[in-house]
């Protein structure tokens, strides 16, 4: 492998980072610098496109091409960018409000088209920049400034939308899981097609501790499972728990108890075409079954931009026009002398 000539510092812009101290976004930004250096994307071959919200400030902190756009539209802008300039690596940065409320339509259509971009979805279950309203990922009953008596609606689960839109890549991490963050960001970069990475982030100001049930140091190992392709689905502080098949569903068991052995524990296959099991894994929420982090689905598919380029090449070769006039002259014409 060619030696990588980039360091994380190559991806840092000269702008001071202005997120709140303690915000989960800081860690993700640093990890993105590291992951890009590890994969070796040249900074001038990378564009970072964001919508509106706290996380959408991220492009300013990258020494790459970047565009901080308007609320909800980053996926559409990133799509046009990638089609127009397919040599570029494109990252889209969105939050749960930007990406799944106002930008929900663009999000599902980007995933459906399988445009080769990486969507980094910061999920803190709150609108931070507008000071604390519930978001489309806030749990039912969540009390916020705009839901003083609790919300009366169910949230989206981002993974479920991705699978509903026939997504080929979905990974999840938590802001505090630095190793997993780097792993999923690098994998998203290497996947061809729309890669969706959901990162659970903590908003220290408006929603502090929203993910505590999952992220609490004492219990995190028992409430999360780090899925790795080709490896057994094992979790727990003592690595003694595993996921097994229970009819069409999943079940968490203790290895060596109730007759379960390590052989019963499932092996993670992120490349499986069918998303049936991926969806079940992604829907685990840390209560009965551990919340899954890592690369949950990573399947090859035809990308929107490659297929456009292919069609252009084919049609051009077939027709052989060199310019507009050529094309028009090949149609119905008459001459006036």
């Amino acid at each position: 492998m060619e030696e990588n000539k980039f360091t994380p510092a190559n991806y840092k812009s000269d702008q001071a980072v202005r997120w709140c101290p303690g915000c989960g976004d800081h860690a993700i930004l640093n990890t993105l610098h590291k992951a890009m250096a590890s994969v070796g994307v040249p900074p001038h071959k990378m564009a970072v496109i964001s919508g509106i919200g706290c996380s959408s400030r991220l492009p300013y902190y990258m020494n790459t091409y970047g565009m901080h756009t308007i609320h909800g539209r980053a996926a559409a802008i990133a799509t046009g960018f990638k089609v127009a300039n397919p040599e570029m690596t494109v990252w889209q940065i969105s939050g749960d409000g930007d990406g799944l409320a106002i930008g929900g339509n663009h999000f599902i259509h980007a995933v459906r088209r399988n445009i080769d971009i990486n969507i980094l979805l910061f999920n803190n279950k709150i609108y931070g920049l507008t000071k604390g309203q519930y978001s489309p990922t806030s749990d039912r009953g969540f009390v916020s400034k705009s839901s003083p008596y609790g919300t009366t609606e169910d949230p989206f689960i981002p993974a479920e939308l991705v699978f509903g839109a026939r997504g080929n890549f979905f990974a999840r991490s938590i802001d505090v899981e630095l190793q997993v963050n780097q792993e999923v960001l690098a994998a998203a970069q290497q996947h061809k097609g729309t890669s969706v990475v959901e990162i659970l982030t903590n908003c220290v100001i408006w929603n502090n501790g929203i993910h505590n049930f999952i992220t609490d140091r004492e219990t995190r190992a028992d409430r999360t499972i780090h899925l790795v392709h080709g490896e057994k689905m094992i979790f727990g502080k003592d690595k003694n728990k595993g996921l097994v098949q229970d009819g069409f569903l999943l079940k968490a068991v203790e290895i060596g108890k109730d007759g379960y052995t390590i052989d019963d524990v499932l092996v993670h296959d992120a490349h499986c075409k069918s998303n049936f099991l991926h969806q079940q894994l992604a829907m685990m929420d840390g209560h009965e079954l551990p919340l899954a982090i890592g690369i949950i689905r990573d399947v090859e598919g035809l990308t929107y931009n490659d297929e456009i380029d292919k069609q252009v090449a084919e049609v051009r070769a077939k027709k052989g026009f060199t310019c507009l006039r050529d094309m028009i002259m090949a149609g119905e014409t008459w001459e006036v002398k």
């Binding site: 300013y60 091409y65 559409a76 802008i77 046009g80 960018f81 089609v83 663009h106 310019c323 006039r325």
Partner: protein, 615 residues
């Protein structure tokens, strides 16, 4: 210099109904003729029966046709038809050669099955392609829709199928704005003794009419002929195709790829259709999930280094407003095409108006100036689409191109330009001597346009976006003085485009006291009216604006030259208000029409005469 353009309202329409001899083509044709005669048209018809008394059904020898020519001063049934109705493949094969360039074919697509194609001796499954037809074809499922319309009657299949002709008639009535009342009266007389048959036909004619409405079927009822006497190679073109081709020409002259992000909307969709075909010239046309994604994908493509465009009509322009504002502040080149139709809201989707002018000029939040241009004719769509692209790139700004349903669908003969006829477009790349220390909002001192650093270029990484930026460093800035400075720079940048566009030209009797003013697609009618007025001894000068914002530099000088200024437009006075706001001392008189229809020259002649006579 604008070429002389004349509008020919197609005073004569020739419709050829053709089908199997048992399909009732003569009846459909007769009713259409009589309905038209009832509206004051003169008519001439030509029944074209098969020679055999009982030719095999569906065969070429069994085709029966009825050609009806209706309109003003009609003396013959016409050699060629504007609309060909072909109820089966044989009728298409026999009839397509009678179609005029720019005509429309309506086929009953249900009859284009294996047996129908075989009987008409087609060799492939695609009859249209096999005949090399390039005209617009409306593939209407006439048989199945007739069956559906009569599903709740107890008629037998044979009787139901006999009503297909009347479905086709309903569709033709929609195309030519023929009210159904008279057709229904005629049907009632015809089937006076068979009320059940009348009821069935009444249902079916309405279904055909509604179908035309539902699919936004349109035919060009005007030819806007640009008289170009230069030698060269000509082709027939409509305004929407010309717009698409103008963008391609601009992309070639700028040396940048062309990207279109769009969403289907009447009457602009043909631009998307044309550019989707032009993958053979490397064009990437993406049908996006909505209007917003249409403009946003184009903004992404513009940032990425393409000549980027989005095409739409009024309601779509409303949805794109926020995106266009982003293009204003991010200062990326973007062409927004609005093929104007009747509004507000869904309004009159297939009809023409000039009612989006204010939306184009001002329909965004904040101080967000941009350039607006408006072509005068179908062929001028090519030139002005090129101009919109040139201005967008050379001045790094969004440009709105205001065409309309009338010129967008209108057709004309057009001389294909030679390769060197259009100028190269100066693409404002970051100059080599300015790369060191370059920041994204540094500007060309002459045009005030910022430079275009194409992503992928080493050492020119930069960030732009919707937040206000420092005029020097390009970093986010909320500094009050800087904001005012940036607002002023963006305003001045647009104003300076006036240095880069042709001066406004006055034609007809330039020394008259009265100046007739129009803008955009009304040129043909206004020009004709101005000439008629002068011929009648009512002296009038005439000027048509194509560059709306900024206005040509000599506009004030021209307006001050005339005692009486009359602005004629297809709205309640938007351009007049706009001129008034720029030149408050003027006393502007107005001629307005908001009927979803183009002007008639006579309306202008009458309007101007009234004003001249002080009425």
């Amino acid at each position: 210099m604008l070429e002389k353009t004349s509008v020919k309202p197609i005073d004569k329409v020739v419709v050829r109904f053709s089908g199997d001899s048992g399909d009732g083509m003569q009846l459909a044709g007769n009713i259409f003729t009589n309905v038209s005669a009832g509206l004051g048209n003169s008519v001439s018809t030509f029944p074209d029966y098969p020679a055999d008394m009982r030719p095999p059904q569906g065969s070429l020898s069994g085709v029966s046709a009825f050609q009806a020519s209706v309109g003003k001063g009609v003396h013959t049934p016409g050699d060629q038809c504007d609309v060909l109705v072909a109820m089966n493949p044989a009728a298409l094969k026999r009839g397509y050669k009678f179609l005029k360039p720019g005509g429309v074919i309506i086929v009953d697509i249900d009859s284009f099955n294996e047996s129908g194609l075989k009987k008409a001796q087609f060799e492939t499954e695609d009859a249209i392609k096999e005949l090399g037809i390039t005209a617009q074809v409306i593939e209407a499922p006439i048989t199945s829709m007739t069956k559906n319309a009569l599903a709740d009657t107890d008629m037998d299949v044979k009787s139901v199928l006999k009503c297909r002709n009347i479905f086709a008639l309903g569709l033709v009535c929609w195309l030519f704005d023929r009210p159904l009342e008279n057709a229904l009266k005629l049907l009632k007389n015809k089937f006076a003794k068979k009320p059940a048959i009348y009821e069935a036909n009444a249902k079916v004619i309405q279904a055909g009419y509604d179908y035309g409405h539902n699919i936004h079927a349109t035919v060009t009822t005007f030819r806007v002929e640009t008289e170009d006497i230069r030698p060269g190679v000509y082709t027939d073109i409509n305004g929407n195709t010309a717009t698409a081709w103008g963008l391609i020409m601009a992309a070639e002259k700028a040396g940048r790829p062309l990207f279109l992000g769009s969403y289907p909307i009447t009457p602009a969709t043909d631009i998307l259709h044309e550019l989707a075909k032009r993958k053979d010239l490397g064009v990437k046309a993406c049908q996006m999930e909505d209007e917003i994604a249409g403009v946003c994908s184009a903004i992404g493509a513009a940032f990425a280094g393409n000549l980027a465009a989005t095409s739409t009509s009024g309601p779509g322009l409303a949805l794109k407003s926020e995106g266009i504002g982003l293009a204003v502040i991010a200062e990326v080149p973007l062409v927004v095409i609005d093929v104007m139709r009747g509004g507000p809201s869904t309004g009159l989707p297939t009809k023409t108006e000039q009612t989006d002018l204010m939306q184009a000029l001002y329909g965004r939040n904040g101080e967000s100036p941009l350039a607006v241009v408006a072509p005068t004719s179908p062929t001028d769509c090519f030139t002005m689409a090129f101009e919109a692209s040139r201005i967008a790139i050379e001045h790094m700004t969004p440009v709105i191109l205001l065409t309309d349903a009338f010129i967008g669908n209108g057709a004309s003969a057009w001389r294909i330009p030679e390769a060197d006829e259009y100028p190269a477009i100066r693409t404002p790349y970051v100059p080599a001597d300015k790369v060191d220390g370059w920041k994204p909002y540094h500007r060309d001192p002459e045009t005030l346009s910022r430079y275009w650093a194409i992503p992928g270029t080493e050492n020119l990484q930069h960030r732009i976006g919707g937040l206000e930026k420092d005029s020097d460093t390009g970093a986010i800035s909320t500094d009050p003085i800087n904001h005012e400075k940036m607002v002023e720079l963006r305003r001045e940048k647009i104003a300076r485009i006036a240095n880069d566009i042709p001066e406004q030209e006055v034609i007809c009797d330039v020394n008259a006291d009265t100046l007739l003013i129009g803008w955009g697609g009304t040129y043909g009618h206004l020009h004709e009216a101005a000439e008629d007025l002068n011929k009648a001894g009512k002296r009038v000068a005439f000027t048509q604006f194509r560059y709306i914002n900024p206005l040509p530099k000599n506009t004030a000088e021209i307006l001050n030259r005339y005692k009486t200024i009359i602005v004629a437009e297809l709205n309640t006075g938007m351009f007049a208000d706009y001129l008034q706001s720029k030149f408050p001392n003027l006393d502007i008189r107005r001629i307005n029409k908001i009927q979803g229809q183009p002007f008639l020259s006579k309306e202008i002649v009458d309007g101007v005469t009234k004003i001249m006579e002080g009425k």
